[in-house]
């Protein structure tokens, strides 16, 4: 089955290049050059809806944030945001508003394809329960059985460490903002306490990373949040 990507990008050259690259990878591409044109796509019958939205942050007729709310109020489609460098705050706001992931311009096509694959994998699972099993090299996590092991040996985590890891596993490969993690693990009154995250991520890395100073699994997205590396099933990564 061919998957359809709705590409909302106002720059003609970039839109054409991305569309061609995505088509080469076997995706069907619907292109829109504005927020209004993007919204028009959603007025089609349900079976003509795209499978994923690639949304530029700097559209001439809206900042994209409203569009994400608009899309989220109608469907659970994955939305990837592309943005220029200095939109850090806006980028985080869009992620908090429900975007699945982001890419900073300029990005390579391989990065884009990897993000699309991860987003589609998460959405192809019905419901939003997220992943419950994760494997990366020598690390294995089974959230439902509360099992974490490294090199086949069980790793003991505190309840908070486990809760944090479970959130990351649920969206493995995708960025989760500080605010989202803090709200889920410590509660909405702690969304500003990023130092909690620094402490617990350091503890998790000490327990799960062979070299905590150069993490391979528990990745930092400066100014945005954290990302659990995409699952890897082979032991030789």
């Amino acid at each position: 089955m061919t998957l359809t990507v709705l590409l909302i990008e106002d720059d003609l050259a970039l839109r054409a290049t991305l569309a061609r690259a995505l088509e080469l990878e076997g995706y069907r591409v619907q292109a829109a050059d504005s927020r209004a044109a993007g919204e028009a796509v959603f007025r089609q019958p349900d079976d003509a809806l795209p499978d994923l939205v690639l949304l530029d942050l700097g559209l001439p007729d809206g900042d994209g944030g409203d569009l994400i709310h608009w899309i989220r109020s109608r469907s659970g489609l994955p939305v990837l945001v592309t943005s220029a460098r200095y939109d850090d705050a806006a980028k985080v706001a869009l992620l908090d508003a429900g975007a699945d992931d982001y890419l900073v311009k300029p990005f390579s096509i391989s990065e884009l394809l990897a993000r699309i694959r991860v987003a589609l994998r998460h959405r192809s699972r019905d419901g939003s329960a997220g992943l419950t099993e994760y494997r990366h090299g020598a690390l294995e996590v089974d959230v439902s059985r509360r099992l974490v092991s490294l090199n086949g040996e069980r790793v003991r985590l505190t309840p908070t460490e486990f809760k944090l890891l479970a959130q990351l596993v649920g969206q493995a490969g995708q960025v989760i903002t500080h605010r989202q993690l803090l709200a889920e693990v410590w509660g909405p009154e702690h969304v500003g306490d990023t130092h909690y995250l620094r402490l617990y991520m350091a503890q998790l890395r000490a327990k799960l990373e062979p070299d905590p100073a150069e993490p391979r699994v528990l990745l930092t997205e400066p100014g945005v949040g954290y990302r659990l590396a995409e699952p890897l099933h082979s032991l030789t990564d």
Partner: protein, 390 residues
């Protein structure tokens, strides 16, 4: 305080009442003292009242009050009382004294007031002049930055653009005839040069942004090891063949900073160190907690930077001329390109974080870039005691 208020405020209607009250109080005192002290001493009260009231009255008012005081003194207190029978002539001395003292004081105060007012005017003028001067300096600096940015665009950007144009036009014109590996090589060149242009653009924009007064930082509590891990990972990806050693101890204090900016700072330092390292040389990244400071050092085993350049390299678009003798000439020449804006951005980022940045000699040769970041009192951490590993 009171005196300065008197001096500064013009003797308007709002303050004249104090002068009137002073006179009234003096008359009250006169009545109180009547019969208990000699007439001469009573007259002294009038002199004192005249002097005090003059502080709040204009010279003309003082004279009027003094004259009235002498007449009333004669009428109420000098025998025969309730008449002007005693010749006013006898009070002439008292009148002269009263008039002299009160008019003199109120005249002096009036002069002082006008002096203060003109001094204030001058101060305002001087302040305006200073403001104008500062605005002119700011404008000159902005002009200087604009010029250096233009220099950058015309010089530093043209080289990678020329490379991209060359490679891309070659692909466009001869894609069919070129061997497969040559096509891949040209494409690789375009990707690399575009990356270089992107880094330069990011730095140039950041510099312009940090130079404006309205820069807003996204400060949060950040772990230095996370910032450095980001930098190290990127360096290993971009220079897989070079040796990069990291010494980042666990348990470093958190920094209250803009993580994106600090990553950019250390990216630039490490990129520079990699560029100046000889083949097989090691780039070293280390962090050290020293009291109220966190020292982060990036060192290379390159040719080093001459002392007279150690400060200048942080200026926008300064670069060490290849004709300049190097600290250790035996290391030979290394490509120097794009130093222009990278270190200037580093300094700007350090500045907005209250940090310092400086270059030193490494042993036996090479350069150490040291950033000293302030360590603030650490935030309160969640309670850990009730947590048992399960």
């Amino acid at each position: 305080m009171v005196l300065s208020k008197i001096l500064v405020d013009r003797p308007g209607a709002d303050l004249r009442w104090i002068g009137c009250v002073t006179w009234l109080a003096a008359w009250g005192l006169m009545l109180l003292l009547d019969g208990r002290v000699t007439l001469g001493n009573q007259a002294l009260v009038l002199v004192m009242a005249g002097a005090l009231a003059a502080l709040w009255l204009s010279p003309l008012q003082s004279m009027a009050f003094s004259a009235a005081a002498v007449a009333l003194f004669n009428f109420f207190f000098v025998h025969p009382r309730h008449s002007f029978a005693a010749m006013l002539r006898e009070d002439l001395l008292l009148l002269a004294t009263l008039l002299g003292v009160s008019t003199g004081i109120s005249y002096l105060l009036a002069r002082l007031r006008s002096l203060v007012t003109s001094e204030r005017l001058h101060a305002a003028e001087r302040e305006q002049a200073l403001l104008n001067e500062r605005a002119a300096i700011d404008q000159a600096q902005a002009q200087h930055l604009r010029n250096t940015l233009l220099t950058a665009i015309s010089h530093d950007y043209r080289t990678p653009l020329a490379t991209v144009t060359g490679a891309a036009s070659s692909l466009a014109a001869h894609a069919d005839e070129l061997p497969r590996d040559r096509v891949a090589e040209l494409a690789r060149t375009i990707v690399d040069e575009a990356g270089h242009l992107n880094r330069m653009t990011t730095n140039t924009l950041q510099l312009a942004r940090l130079d404006s007064d309205t820069v807003s930082l996204q400060r949060q509590w950040e772990a230095p090891e996370e910032i450095l891990a980001q930098v190290i990972a990127r360096a290993r990806r971009s220079a897989p063949s070079q040796r990069i050693e990291a010494h980042v101890p666990r348990g470093l204090p958190l920094l209250y900073c803009d993580a994106v900016l600090l990553v950019q700072l250390f990216d630039n330092l490490v990129e520079n160190a990699l560029k100046y390292s000889p083949v097989g040389g090691t780039v070293r990244i280390e962090a050290l907690h020293q009291g109220a400071q966190l020292a982060i050092r990036v060192s290379d085993a390159g040719p080093g930077v001459p002392d007279e350049w150690k400060d200048k390299v942080f200026d926008v678009f300064q670069r060490i001329d290849s004709a300049q003798p190097l600290a250790d000439a035996s290391i030979g020449s290394v490509p120097r390109r794009g130093v222009g804006v990278g270190l200037a951005v580093c300094r700007a980022i350090a500045r907005v974080h209250g940090a310092s940045i400086s270059l030193h000699d490494a042993q036996p040769h090479g350069t150490v870039a040291e950033v000293l970041l302030p360590v603030l009192p650490q935030p309160a951490m969640p309670e850990l005691l009730d947590e048992v590993a399960a």
